[in-house]
Symmetry: C2
Subunit: 231 residues, 2 copies
Amino acid sequence: MSGRLYGLGVGPGDPELLTLKALGVLKRVRVVAYPALEEGDSFARAIVAAHLSADVREIAVRVPMSPDPNAALGAYDRAAVEIAAELEAGRDVAVLCQGDPFLYGSFMYLHERLVGRFQVEVVPGVTSLTAAAAAAGRPLVARNESLAVVPATLSEEALVERLSGSDALAIVKLGRHLEKVRRVMARIGRADEAIYVERATLPQQLLAPLSQAPDAAPYFSMILVPGRGHR
Amino acid sequence: MSGRLYGLGVGPGDPELLTLKALGVLKRVRVVAYPALEEGDSFARAIVAAHLSADVREIAVRVPMSPDPNAALGAYDRAAVEIAAELEAGRDVAVLCQGDPFLYGSFMYLHERLVGRFQVEVVPGVTSLTAAAAAAGRPLVARNESLAVVPATLSEEALVERLSGSDALAIVKLGRHLEKVRRVMARIGRADEAIYVERATLPQQLLAPLSQAPDAAPYFSMILVPGRGHR
């Protein structure tokens, strides 16, 4: 009998934001896989490092930072073959996913390569969205309000269009798109309400009004515009 | 010294989706508060019932189901006074919140009454949004896709407006608005992609294509339209 593939949400960064369910799966499986930089560490692995025993097999999915999208897809192709071999041998495999596997998670690249052939179970995790709101101490969305979650990678016009008309906004995958997002926030009249959140729940967490955000934003940063409530 | 107020996200329903952090707070505090029906149980309390010791003081915030909005606000006013007395006596108080406290959480009613006077810490939780996507086995949003989260309580025209143009959609607080949402999904051309999810992660969880959804939807149900990916 084949093993089961787990997409394991490990939360936004604070190891304490792991769920009991994810911890249980981690302690049970003999194989874990995770995305990692070409050289160096895996953020997802670091979150659960304290719970990994020495005899667990680790498969690092090393995704090249290349302008050629096929380079990354090749890495997922090879990882899927390696993971499939473990599953076929009857071993369960947990793929570690920062945040939640199905909310902008790289797990999707493995999921689409393996679903149908194997049993898959996704364990949802705390997302950086609500973790950032908690860190900022600001209710994100309440009552009859709506929320738009949009990646900063879209064009300026697409961002303006998709962010207009929602009460609460979250612009994720900020990185080198910060200046464009500043212009968008000014154009839609929400710049004064926008909060910059970098590495929420980690020791190096940084919170600032958008006007005081640093010039260089990392990939793991976002802009939140909380709903205004109806007080 | 005053106690600390915790907004404690306890996740979507499966007790195993509690975080280690929320569990730690629960074991430490001597007072917990939670929303409850006028008569009967509290869903948030049920999720963590196994972890509540007998000597914890419990404050049930009994919110009347009344067409008069002031009736509910009065319940929060009274609960805030009771909680403030505990905090002033130096005791930490954890307010249990289904899902995440700052994503449509009723914690906001207590937060707005107590913030500024007391130290507040919000512990984010797994939301029903990503739990429903996990239950459906469908990636919610990927790559350059955007997500709109909209309460079904809005008017049909407002729903059409706010749900058009996003790749992935989540319509929450479904309840008695199911028929309206069916019309909206048809109008925006997404009816065939829509998934009905009721009580995600609980034993009585129900998943169906929107066309086969039951006639009567409970409040804790939603419609998901996953993004289409870019395969």
